[in-house]
């Protein structure tokens, strides 16, 4: 239940075992139970937290049609969410009725599936090859979770600023970014990987200019030599980092999201109120017309 117009979120920075659904579910259950003990309303896990990230051909083995009997494998998560009166966001490989696969994140609240986000922007460059295996999602949903309006962006989704623009204008107050971001690039004088630095700058910009809470949950561990950077964190609508987990280490941290503060920020700096959606629409139509 919400207290003082706030919710407590557990950021679960895990190290999923690639291709081992059973083991990852066990780990999720343990963390969910611990989070409940600390009074959390919501636990957020990283992208593809139930399966691991660089699945390659294993995508075929990991797909679950969450609307059929195949979702029985997730039953322990549903049960934990129900018994513990808690919400959980976890990443998995979704399969639809036409046998398409998606890089998806489900939100299970108190035993019910309340939202599935299918990752829209599938990076297929450099070390990434998501479009080889997954079908892109077709939108960004805002859903009510524990009385708060939330939207999920998965990793690369957040690198397209149009995604968070859509989410906040659709009414999101908190933006949840789950990711599996590899640590890469070093710079003299900088005490973090370049990739981490880019993320923190981006998340701060989204939080400040879209006047929202941003919850970033990234994974750790290695898959074939590629290490994920962790550093899960929370930015408030002033663009300040409120909480952060260590880079490269498993762990959990808790953040109290206070909607009174969001109210205050949105009144003082009403960027979302003043957003001219008609202007954006007109300009986008012009862009599309010119392109065609």
């Amino acid at each position: 239940m919400k207290k003082n117009n706030s919710i407590k979120i557990c950021l679960a920075q895990t190290n999923p075992k690639v291709g081992d659904l059973k083991k990852n579910i066990e780990n999720h259950l343990e963390i969910i139970s611990g989070a409940k003990d600390k009074g959390a309303n919501l636990v957020v896990f990283p992208e593809l937290s139930l399966t691991g990230y660089f699945l390659k051909d294993s995508v075929y083995d990991m797909g679950i049609n969450i609307y059929t009997d195949e979702s029985a494998v997730l039953e322990p998560v549903y049960k934990a969410a129900k018994d513990l009166d808690i919400s959980v966001i976890a990443g998995f490989v979704e399969k639809d009725a036409d046998f398409n696969f998606y890089n998806s994140s489900c939100c299970i609240s108190k035993g019910n599936l309340i939202n599935v986000h299918r990752k829209v922007y599938l990076p297929t460059y450099g070390m990434f090859e998501e479009l080889r295996y997954f079908k892109p999602g077709n939108g960004f949903c805002v859903f009510d979770m524990e009385g708060v309006k939330a939207s999920v962006l998965t990793c690369e989704d957040a690198w397209h600023l149009s995604s968070s623009y859509i989410a906040v204008n659709k009414g999101a107050h908190i933006i949840i970014v789950n990711s599996a971001s590899p640590a890469r690039g070093i710079t003299a004088g900088l005490n973090k990987f370049n990739s981490i630095n880019m993320w923190e700058e981006l998340l701060s910009v989204i939080a400040f200019y879209y006047k929202s809470y941003v919850i970033y949950v990234n994974r750790v561990g290695f898959e074939d030599g590629i290490g994920f950077s962790g550093g899960s964190c929370v930015f408030n609508p002033s663009g300040e980092m409120e909480k952060k987990l260590d880079y490269l280490e498993e762990g959990e941290t808790y953040a109290d999201i206070n909607l009174d503060l969001l109210n205050n920020e949105r009144f003082k700096t009403p960027l979302i109120r003043d957003e001219n959606l008609n202007l954006t629409l007109k300009e986008i139509e012009d862009i599309l017309n010119k392109k065609s």
């Binding site: 690639v18 051909d57 973090k192 290490g227």
Partner: protein
């Protein structure tokens, strides 16, 4: 504006150190073992790898194999022993002179000296690999690679010799950065200051053989590879055209050394072509 190879300094070192230690710890445990074996030459690359492994796995889970040949420098042996003593890791000294000389007794007859020198160098590298893999079995350990990014890109290594390993913590770190890493790991000065050499014959020097310094090559390779600049763009940034082309050519010509052997595709699903899984596949 000249873009430069990023320096490993006191700011980024702690995270890089943790990252490389995690890499060794996690990837070794995934193989179902808890230890590594590596060839320790007394040079800076294997010294850095040994320090990283000792930190990641604990000194009792690292075995260093020191495998001199009759012409190997005595200073190299001293430096290798200094490392194992400092870290307290177990070590084995295995002289490879006998088997190398035995093989070349007949082979060298009627063969050009220069060719024999290169063949002997390769044979020594592969002999050491063969012993490392034997000890890998004996000690239930993985072979830790010690090739840096500079030599891997330039192809300055022996295929299935010193390039062979199960996992390599320093293969994405240029030689120039290896020196910086070594400073922060507190590796003995004598190892850091001596000129780089494969020590396959008396007086051999990496930079003498390559015809350029690692520092120059690394600056160029950082732009060609990490930044993905075309050679002509690198030249436009003020680098010598002949050198840029020479280095780019070396990288291209040695690509085969960095890949698995080619397999003729016959079936519908072929290993490493369209049969695609992580090595960490479960």
């Amino acid at each position: 504006m000249k873009k430069e190879l990023p320096k490993i300094d006191e700011y980024n070192f702690p995270l890089i150190y943790k990252h490389l230690s995690n890499f060794i710890g996690i990837e070794v445990s995934k193989a179902g073992v808890n230890s590594v074996v590596l060839g320790l030459s007394g040079g800076i690359d294997s010294a850095v790898a040994c320090y990283l492994a000792s930190n990641a796995l604990g000194k009792d889970n690292v075995a260093a194999l020191i495998m001199p040949y009759e012409s190997s420098s005595g200073a190299s042996l001293d430096d290798a022993l200094k490392i194992v003593k400092t870290l307290g890791v177990s070590h084995y000294v295995i002289d490879i002179t006998k088997q190398i000389n035995e093989y070349f007794t007949e082979e060298r007859i009627g063969t050009d000296e220069e060719e024999i020198r290169v063949r002997k160098g390769n044979k020594m590298a592969r002999e050491r690999m063969s012993i490392l893999y034997d000890y890998s079995y004996k000690l239930k350990s993985l072979v830790l690679g010690t090739s840096n990014k500079s030599e891997l890109l330039l192809g300055y290594g022996t295929l299935y010799g010193d390039m062979a390993s199960a996992l390599n913590p320093i293969g994405d770190i240029y030689k120039t950065q290896i020196y910086q890493l070594a400073e922060h790991l507190d590796i003995p000065k004598s190892i850091i200051t001596k000129p780089p050499s494969a020590d396959l014959w008396v007086g051999q020097s990496d930079e003498g053989e390559l015809g350029f310094t690692y520092e120059t090559a690394d600056g160029i390779m950082y732009l060609l590879i990490d930044k993905m600049y075309k050679p002509e763009v690198v030249v436009s940034l003020g680098y010598d055209e002949n050198l840029v082309n020479k280095i780019y050519d070396k990288i291209k010509k040695s690509q085969y050394k960095r890949r698995m052997p080619l397999i003729a595709k016959v079936s519908e699903r072929t290993i490493n072509i369209d049969f695609r899984y992580l090595r960490d596949w479960t």
